[in-house]
């Protein structure tokens, strides 16, 4: 798929840094309080996925590489509201997990600037489960 050559471009020289110890995934916590439609949620999670991928290319290239090579596993879970998402972000950052917040531009459905999604990772499955393992699947 040419992912390696892409990675070389954004992470040159060769990806380095700490290597993940186990399989990696991305988790998306969706702000359930906003009552977004299915298509809206899909677009917002898509924003989170692309932003988190770019961030990982700069900050955790080895995690990104492992995640891409193993089929870029993604999971969507329900968060209660914006405050819940921010709490989870704090815990995740304390655990060394990359976090990405998605704020809506307000073109449709909800007020501009609403916090819609918290993207976590890519990071090791077990470590992410400590943060979001109790949340319900969306």
């Amino acid at each position: 798929m040419g992912f390696r050559s892409f990675l070389h471009r954004i992470t040159a020289p060769h990806p380095s840094g700490p290597s993940p110890n186990g399989n990696c995934k991305m988790v998306f916590v969706v702000n359930h309080n906003l009552k977004m439609g299915k298509g809206k949620i899909a677009a917002q999670v898509g924003h989170g996925a692309v932003l988190a991928t770019m961030k990982a290319g700069e900050k955790k290239p080895m995690y990104l590489e492992k995640w891409l090579a193993s089929g870029q596993k993604k999971v969507c879970v329900k968060g209660t509201d914006a405050a819940h998402l921010l709490d989870l972000q704090t815990s995740a950052e304390r655990g060394g997990i990359l976090t990405t917040l998605v704020h809506d531009a307000g073109h449709t459905q909800i007020p501009s600037g609403s916090l819609t999604v918290l993207a976590l990772g890519p990071h090791v499955d077990d470590i992410l489960d400590e943060i979001t393992g109790e949340l319900k699947l969306l």
Binding site: F28, G39, I41, A42, V45, A49, L68, Q72, K74, L138
Partner: protein
């Protein structure tokens, strides 16, 4: 300033007939968004940068069936647009190999609109 029709956009066309859950739909669309972005970064780096800087516009549209997606991917590729076809790995909900989402872009909005103007938002 480029006009709206020249601004890059991305569409994620999902099969409504599969009746995926909200989470499943979001994950499948995100596979398409990430793979399209990585692929476009190689072939159209400046366009991707412009798209990201302008908020990385993404829209989720619905397709009634697989045939619509197969027709659109042919047309998009003929027009030289970046495409990704997502097939489900079959871990949950669907049989392995089921085509779930077609991603097109980031590409100039005008080129995308020409192909998908008859599709409804998901």
């Amino acid at each position: 300033m480029p006009s709206t029709v020249e601004e890059p956009s991305m569409v994620l066309i999902a099969r409504k007939d599969l009746k995926m859950s909200a989470g499943k739909l979001a994950v499948q669309c995100s596979h398409a968004a990430v793979t399209c972005t990585l692929s476009a970064r190689k072939s159209h780096p400046r366009l991707v940068e412009r798209w990201m800087n302008a908020g990385a516009r993404k829209i989720c549209l619905s397709s009634d069936d697989l045939e619509t997606i197969q027709r659109l991917i042919g047309q998009a590729q003929a027009a030289g647009l970046v495409t990704t076809l997502v097939k489900d790995a079959g871990h949950t909900e669907l049989p392995p190999g089921t085509v779930t989402v077609l991603g097109i872009g980031p590409s100039p909005r005008r080129s995308i609109d020409a192909l998908v103007s008859d599709l409804k938002p998901y």
